[in-house]
């Protein structure tokens, strides 16, 4: 059980990265971005493209760091993929969502459009890479370390936790200490007053998409390192992402962090009783329970 909880924290930290971005976007633009799961997928595959394509072509060595399953190529690919997916998210906003916003289309139209965008991203991945599962390092043995309480954990997983922690702290500092970060919180709080205060809200929206997309990409890559890559991986994260976001109160990024960890742990622990394929259903049931008991989430005011 302790082991499942630890795995749950690993999974949950990945969900958190996605949920934080989803919550940020929801807080500022007030619509459910159904393409967010596919940002995770896009991030994983862009990193794959870098690791197995570009970086091997320009001759970055392929050896791994100690007992980790990756090396310099991934270290370079990781931030590049975050930037690329951040740009993809911004581009979608410029091409699709902004047009709808300007026409005064409702939140549902925007959500619908994001669903379309989700499939567009996924179909492009399917066209390029096909429907099979892929690995960053196929055929690599990935031994687990034995830590106290009889928990087996792979070095990769420990690193995943540190990477997530690092990104969350970075985001926290950005939002609390920088002018742009504060303006972003202000816009989420009260868009009209932000405009009145002279904040360029269109620029804030761009930053929001960029950060949301980049964090999702990070989550996708980490999942790819931990498990595998699959064109539907992000779609399967979508329900857990929404469950985490709603649990942690929509628009609250710290809530999204806690929500993500909770959902991740619940999903992993459930595998002690249920088939692992039901993980998604577990997230769904938790979400329905939240909606029944406390629809505004743990930090919401009734």
């Amino acid at each position: 059980m302790a082991e499942l909880i630890v795995y749950g924290i690993v999974l949950g930290s990945i969900i958190s990265l996605g949920a934080i971005g989803l919550s940020l976007v929801y807080g500022i633009l007030r619509f459910a971005n159904f393409a967010h799961g596919d940002f995770l997928t896009a991030g994983a595959y862009v990193a794959l493209f870098m690791v197995t394509g570009v970086l091997s072509w320009i001759g970055i060595p392929d050896n791994t760091f100690g007992s980790l399953s990756f090396g310099w190529r991934m270290v370079i690919a990781f931030p590049i993929s975050m930037v690329v997916v951040g740009c993809v998210a911004i581009a979608l906003d410029r091409i699709l969502y902004r047009k709808l916003r300007q026409k005064g289309s409702g939140a549902v139209m925007l959500a619908m459009s994001s669903l379309g965008a989700a499939f567009i991203i996924r179909m492009i991945i399917l066209i390029i890479w096909g429907a099979d599962s892929l690995f960053y390092r196929p055929g690599l043995m990935r031994p687990a370390l034995e830590v106290p309480l009889g928990i087996k954990i792979r070095p990769d997983q420990i690193l995943i936790l540190f990477v997530v922690l690092f990104l969350v702290v970075l985001l926290h500092l950005f939002l609390k200490k920088t002018k742009m970060g504060k303006a972003m919180r202000a816009t989420a709080d009260n868009m009209e007053l932000a405009l009145i205060s002279g904040i360029n809200t269109e620029r804030i929206i761009i930053w929001t998409w960029g950060i949301g997309g980049a964090l999702a990409a990070a989550g996708g890559i980490l999942y790819g390192i931990d498990v595998q890559l699959h064109p539907y991986m992000g779609w399967n994260f979508l329900i857990p992402l929404f469950a985490a976001t709603i649990l942690g109160t929509i628009g609250n990024i710290y809530g999204a962090l806690i929500g993500g960890l909770t959902i991740g742990i619940a999903q992993q622990v459930s595998t002690a009783f249920l088939l692992p394929t039901y993980k998604l259903a577990v997230a769904f049931i938790i979400m329905i329970l939240i909606l029944l008991i406390r629809p505004k989430g743990i930090f919401g005011k009734e």
Partner: protein, 234 residues
């Protein structure tokens, strides 16, 4: 000298015009009060001056510069600040952060200005790390005004600053308004508390059904029998 002037303003939210040829003038250092029944278009006039609504006809002039139709951030840079009637703070941010947002477009060091605002609203200084959402209505109104003052405006637009406040607090707020005015800031104040608003005002305007009805010196309007009967509640 006339610092702010709106002339022949015609504007609406949809195709329907809400204001018809409305005009208003503010001399430098003056308090101008706008009174009138609910739905008269008072808030709409302030939003138009501040560039949130774009007028279909008419002009807004600040000193000698035509600022009609500029976006709010441009108008803020030119020296006008605006406190909306509702939702005029960032509730999940601290008092200090609310003031910083008021100075968003300033690139210089504004720490001295923050001090001045805290000197004006001393209760806020003690709680600068508190979230504004947790404050009382009166304190929130102070945060809202403080935010607007951060740009050191020449003209301050206040939309119903006393709305929803307990009577004791109302006089507090009006006192603060007088203090701000004493530093040389011209103001347009929209008020439901019409009598109080006219007492403070150098000049007053009565608006009804989206049109100018009357304008005169503050005390003259107070003395006007018809205004008393129709707008001051007898």
């Amino acid at each position: 000298m006339i610092i702010l002037k709106a002339e022949d303003i015609t504007v609406g939210y949809t195709e329907v015009d809400i204001l018809h040829d409305v005009g208003i003038r503010v001399k430098s250092g003056e308090i101008v009060s706008i009174i009138g029944p609910n739905g008269a278009g008072k808030s709409t006039l302030l939003k138009t001056i501040f560039g949130i609504l774009k007028p279909r006809n008419g002009s807004v002039t600040l000193k000698d510069e035509d600022i009609t139709g500029l976006n709010p951030d441009k108008i803020a840079r030119k020296g006008i600040s605006y406190v909306p009637q509702v939702e005029n703070v960032f509730p999940s941010m601290t008092i200090q952060e609310n003031l910083e947002m008021g100075a968003f477009i300033r690139d210089d060091d504004y720490s001295q200005r923050i001090d001045e605002v805290y000197d004006l609203f001393t209760v806020l200084r003690e709680r600068k790390k508190q979230k504004v959402g947790h404050l009382s209505g009166g304190q929130r109104q102070m945060v809202a005004m403080g935010r607007a003052l951060m740009l050191d405006p020449q003209v301050l637009l206040l939309d119903e600053p006393s709305a929803g406040l307990a009577p004791v607090l109302v006089s507090d707020i009006f006192e603060k308004i007088m203090e701000i005015n004493a530093t040389g800031v011209a103001m347009i104040i929209v008020e439901q508390n019409a009598r109080e608003a006219l007492k403070m005002a150098h000049h007053g305007y009565v608006l009804a059904m989206g049109r100018n009805v009357l304008d005169d010196k503050g005390e003259a309007l107070l003395a006007n029998e018809e205004v008393g009967r129709l707008y001051l509640g007898g």
